[in-house]
């Protein structure tokens, strides 16, 4: 075979692979919408999104996902409150402060954190974090939004840290030199030049972390408490959208309204994560253009 032919073949092969992943994605989206959309024949979109009650097995059933939506948001926002400061501070420490030896130790450790299966986090949460939370805050139960936030926060840290760290360390050295030459010290340089220059990348990291927290299933299923009621405090048990799908899918009759409602939840989740990813992408592009 001639070289050109060979290269052509390889090119086509890769093209085929990437087409294949698009086909899979399309397939998933089509199934999602085909199974989920029929729910809107029985429940209006408004009632679905803003209905306060999720009683899928009552007669007649209530398919209001507001408690689940809020559950997801509370837990995710709580997770971000924990993960953003820690994750970004960690990234600053790794790229700007730590000596190379410490850096070489910390980076893999944080990446390891990302590799732990979520069921392990859930287990850790049930056995250690939840009793601790119950004890410290004198609560009837330790499985609640707060506990879930803590765990999701820990889980989101690696995402936030590693993407932020990439952004911070790719800030050109010449910016820092210019800052030092103007009499700024290291701290001023980090806070006023390096971190703002990496702001695009850091926001991307935060949004992807948010996506991760919203999409996480197993851990919240295990530690969030599972009550499908509108949360009023962080110390209440909550149920997220993902946990609902995971917990109830096995017990529904295929094609029933409950089944359709769960698929519709998945559609909402899909739209949310898609939005996060698009925003993250736009930010990354803007960031690249700004630094050229």
């Amino acid at each position: 075979m001639k070289r050109a032919q060979k290269e052509n073949l390889i090119k086509r092969l890769f093209c085929l692979f990437s087409l294949l992943s698009i086909v899979f994605l399309l397939g998933i989206v089509i199934v999602l919408f085909k199974e989920g959309l029929p729910i809107f024949r029985t429940t209006s979109l408004g009632n679905f999104l803003f209905g306060k009650f999720w009683y899928p097995t009552y007669e007649p059933p209530d398919f209001g996902i507001l408690p689940l939506l809020l559950g997801s948001l509370w837990v995710a926002v709580g997770a971000l409150i924990i993960a953003v400061p820690l994750g970004v501070a960690g990234a600053i420490y790794i790229s700007e402060v730590a000596q190379s030896k410490i850096k070489e130790f910390i980076k893999p450790v944080i990446e390891l954190l990302a590799g732990i299966p979520s069921v392990v986090y859930g287990f850790f949460g049930m056995v250690i974090v939840a009793p601790l939370v119950q004890e410290v805050f004198k609560l009837p139960v330790g499985l609640n939004a707060f506990t879930a936030s803590v765990l999701l926060g820990i889980m989101a840290i690696p995402t936030i840290t590693s993407i932020s760290e990439d952004a911070i360390s790719s800030v050109p050295n010449s910016f820092k030199e210019a800052s030092f030459a103007l009499g700024a010290n290291r701290w001023e340089t980090t806070v006023k030049v390096t971190v703002p220059a990496a702001a695009g990348g850091i926001s991307t990291a935060i949004i992807l972390g948010m996506g991760r927290a919203i999409g996480e299933t197993m851990t919240v299923l295990m530690v969030a408490g599972g009550a499908a009621v509108i949360p009023h405090s962080f110390f209440q048990p909550v149920r997220t959208m993902t946990a609902t799908i995971a917990a109830e899918m096995g017990e529904t009759v295929v094609g029933s309204t409950h089944f359709q409602a769960l698929f519709a939840i998945a559609i909402i989740l899909f739209i949310m994560t898609l939005t996060f990813n698009i925003i993250a992408d736009l930010l990354t592009q803007k960031f690249r253009r700004r630094l050229r």
Partner: protein, 277 residues
């Protein structure tokens, strides 16, 4: 060559005109010595050019004058650099203070990814200047001066007219030559005494270069200037004194006229006439 008398004689006429005095300066990167026993007197309100073949240590030398080499972990400096008689490598020296007194403009223009205004204001803000609307932690003495100083610096850098209506625009929207002048304005804003230029025109076209050269000529009234350049004509045009460096050694240092018309060393002549380097 180190022991040659010529390289130790200073062309600077009076001791009291000396702003910077470099004494027996040696610099190493790890174990490689790149500056060897350099002695050099820099006169006040004059332009001193440093010329020499690539890799001879010009950047290294000029960067030690505001201690920018501190940032490079394995750089080692031995010797003295006296700024107004005080050794900036002494024990009781505040590096930040040195850098405020000795400003620097880099080879590649490096404005911050901020607005034109913020670029110039950066050094001022670090030094406690605040905008008219802001509140000062340090008593408010410098209140309201920020805008004035930014304007003055941009005027000094001959950029004001071109940017006065677009101070809020990103610095990256400026042309290469404008960006370099912005960097000059930024360096001037904190009113240093000495300004170091490390090949400030190497990335610019002839028109932009001419502008910067003209600017440097003007700046020497207020500042002491040291400039590294690869361009012989540029050194001849704008400098009063000229130091020729080769392989880390100072071969010759004299009035620019003398270096370009009657150099005392054969290598200097070879270099400036373009026979090598």
């Amino acid at each position: 060559m180190v022991d040659k008398v010529t390289s130790h004689q200073s062309p600077v006429t009076s001791k009291k005109d000396v702003r910077i005095s470099i004494r027996n300066l040696n610099i190493w990167y790890a174990n490689t010595q790149v500056i060897k026993n350099v002695r050099l007197d820099i006169e006040k309100n004059r332009v001193t050019a440093i010329i020499g073949p690539s890799g001879c240590g010009k950047s290294t030398l000029i960067r030690t004058i505001n201690r920018m080499n501190d940032i490079i972990p394995d750089a080692k400096v031995k010797g003295e650099i006296l700024l107004d008689g005080k050794n900036i490598y002494g024990d009781d020296i505040d590096v930040v203070e040195v850098r405020k007194r000795v400003g620097m403009v880099f080879q590649k223009s490096n404005p911050f990814p901020k607005s034109i205004f913020e670029n110039v204001a950066y050094g001022l803000k670090i030094n406690g200047f605040i905008s008219a609307g802001g509140r000062s932690a340090s008593g408010g003495k410098k209140k309201g001066q920020l805008m004035e100083r930014v304007e003055q610096s941009l005027k000094d850098a001959a950029l004001w007219k071109e940017v006065k209506d677009r101070l809020g625009d990103s610095a990256f929207d400026l042309s290469g030559g404008q960006q370099q002048r912005l960097c000059i304005a930024r360096a001037l804003a904190i009113e240093p005494e000495v300004v170091l230029f490390d090949e400030p025109c190497s990335a610019l076209d002839p028109t932009a270069t001419a502008k910067i050269e003209e600017l440097i000529q003007k700046l020497k009234k207020k500042y002491t200037i040291i400039i590294v350049t690869h361009n012989m004509q540029q050194a001849a045009r704008i400098s009063d004194f000229c130091a020729f460096l080769m392989l880390g050694e100072l071969i010759e240092f004299d009035k620019t006229d003398k270096i370009f018309t009657a150099p005392s060393e054969k290598v200097t002549e070879d270099y400036i006439t373009g026979r090598f380097g």
